[in-house]
C-alpha cells in the first residue's frame, strides 16, 4: 500500500528547484520539432526525382520528430523494462496489422471490386 506522501527517493527533482533547471531538454526538443516542421513543409516543395522519394523523405523526417517526442517528452530514453516489453509487442502487432492487410491483396474475395484474376 502506498503512503500518501511517498515520493521517489532517487528523484532528481527537489522542492524549490527552479523549473528551468530541469526543463532544458524539453525546450531543445521543442525547438527541434519547430525547425523540423518547417523543414518538412519546405522539402515537400522540392522535387526529389519521384513522388515516392518525396514521401520517403517526408516520412523519414516525421519519424525523427516522433522519435524525439517519444524519447524525451515521453521519457522512453530512461523507462522501466516492462514498458519496453509492452512496446515491443505493440510494434509486433502493428506490423502484423499492416502485413495482414497487404496479404489480403493476394487472396481477394471473388465477386468483390478488388478481385482481379
Amino acid at each position: 500500500m502506498s503512503s500518501t506522501h511517498d515520493t521517489a527517493q532517487h528523484s532528481p527533482y527537489k522542492a524549490g528547484d527552479a523549473i528551468l533547471q530541469h526543463s532544458r531538454p524539453y525546450f531543445i526538443v521543442g525547438g527541434i520539432l519547430f525547425v523540423f516542421t518547417v523543414l518538412t513543409v519546405a522539402i515537400s516543395y522540392v522535387h526529389f526525382g519521384s513522388h515516392a522519394a518525396n514521401i520517403a523523405i517526408g516520412l523519414a523526417v516525421a519519424s525523427f520528430k516522433a522519435a524525439c517526442v517519444a524519447a524525451i517528452f515521453m521519457h522512453l530514453n530512461h523507462e522501466k523494462r516492462l514498458i519496453y516489453v509492452v512496446l515491443f509487442f505493440t510494434v509486433i502487432f502493428a506490423v502484423a496489422c499492416v502485413y495482414l492487410t497487404w496479404k489480403s491483396f493476394a487472396d481477394p474475395i471473388p465477386g468483390t471490386q478488388h478481385f482481379v484474376r
Binding site: 502506498s2 500518501t4 527533482y13 516542421t37 516492462l82 509492452v86 499492416v98
Partner: protein, 285 residues
C-alpha cells in the same frame, strides 16, 4: 478505500499502477491508429493516377496547428516539472497554456478547416470524356511533362439542372498549362469567376469535399476526426486537473497530482505524435 500504488512503485512491475495502465492504453491506441493508417496506405497505393487529391488542404493553417500542438507538448511537460519542484503557480500557468493550445487546435479545425471543405465542390469526369474538357484539365500538357492526369474539376457549385452542372472553377482550370499549377500549392487555389459547364452524361461522380467524395477525404475525416476527439478528451482531462480538484489533491498529496499529470501528459504526447504523421501525409505528400 485507498487506491494502492498511486505514487510508489509496485514491487513486481517496478511501476506505479497508472503508469503501466496508460502505456497499455497507448499500446491499444497504436493499434487503433495503426489500422487506420494501414487503410490509408492501401487505399492510396490502390488509387489510380490522378484520383488521389493533392494540394487541397491549407498548408499554412496545418503548419500553424502543428506548431500549436508542439507548443502544448512543451507546456504540458513543464507543468509536470513545476509539480515535481512543488511550484503550484507555475503548474497552473503551464497547464492553462496547454488547455488553451488544445482549444485553439480544435477551433481552427472545426470552424475553419472542416467548413471550408464542405463548401468546396468536385466533379470527377468519366475517363472517356476527359478529352472533351482538356481546355480546363490540360492533360495533354501534363502527359508531356510526365505528371499525373487531372480527372476532377473543382471549385464552387454555381448552378445545376438535370442535364448539366455549372462550376465556378479553381484557378488552375482557367490556365491549366501554366507551370505554376503543375505541383500542389502552398496556399489553396482561389475560386475564380470562370464558369465551366459539365454535362451530367460526362460525370463519374460529384459532390462537396466530404468523406464520400473520395478515399482521400474518407480517410482524412476519419483520422483527423478521431484525432480531434482525442484532443478534446485530453483537454477535458487537463481541465479536471487544472480546476479546484487539482488544487485539493495538491494540498493532500502533490506527488499523486504530479503522477496524474504525467499520465495525462503521456496521452497528450501520443496525440501530438499521431499528428506528426497526419500532417505530412494529408497536407504535404
Amino acid at each position: 478505500m485507498e487506491i494502492p500504488y498511486t505514487v510508489s512503485a509496485r514491487p513486481d512491475t517496478g511501476l506505479w499502477n497508472a503508469k503501466l495502465g496508460i502505456w497499455l492504453f497507448l499500446a491499444s491506441e497504436v493499434m487503433l491508429f495503426g489500422g487506420l493508417f494501414s487503410a490509408y496506405i492501401f487505399l492510396r497505393i490502390g488509387s489510380e493516377p490522378g484520383y488521389w487529391p493533392l494540394g487541397v488542404l491549407n498548408v499554412p493553417v496545418g503548419t500553424l496547428n502543428t506548431f500549436v500542438l508542439i507548443a502544448s507538448s512543451v507546456t504540458v511537460v513543464l507543468a509536470w516539472v513545476a509539480l515535481k519542484v512543488r511550484n503550484f503557480f507555475q503548474y497552473k500557468l503551464f497547464m492553462g497554456i496547454t488547455i488553451l493550445c488544445g482549444i485553439l487546435f480544435l477551433v481552427v479545425k472545426l470552424t475553419y478547416e472542416y467548413p471550408q471543405k464542405f463548401h468546396h465542390y468536385g466533379v470527377f469526369i468519366k475517363k472517356d470524356a476527359l478529352g472533351k474538357y482538356d481546355a480546363f484539365l490540360g492533360n495533354n500538357h501534363r502527359r508531356e511533362k510526365g505528371l499525373e492526369p487531372r480527372v476532377e474539376i473543382t471549385g464552387k457549385l454555381y448552378q445545376e439542372s438535370d442535364e448539366y452542372l455549372k462550376i465556378k472553377v479553381d484557378a488552375p482550370f482557367t490556365d491549366p498549362t501554366n507551370h505554376k499549377y503543375d505541383f500542389p500549392p502552398l496556399f489553396p487555389h482561389k475560386v475564380t469567376d470562370t464558369v465551366v459547364k459539365i454535362d451530367r452524361a460526362d460525370i463519374q461522380h460529384h459532390g462537396v469535399f466530404a468523406p464520400k467524395h473520395s478515399p482521400y477525404f474518407a480517410t482524412y475525416f476519419c483520422i483527423t476526426g478521431l484525432h480531434g476527439l482525442h484532443v478534446l478528451g485530453g483537454v477535458i482531462v487537463f481541465l479536471y486537473l487544472w480546476l479546484p480538484c487539482g488544487a485539493s489533491l495538491y494540498k493532500t498529496n502533490p506527488e499523486h497530482l504530479a503522477n496524474r499529470v504525467e499520465v495525462a501528459g503521456l496521452f497528450w504526447h501520443f496525440v501530438d505524435l499521431v499528428w506528426i504523421f497526419v500532417f505530412p501525409l494529408f497536407y504535404l505528400l
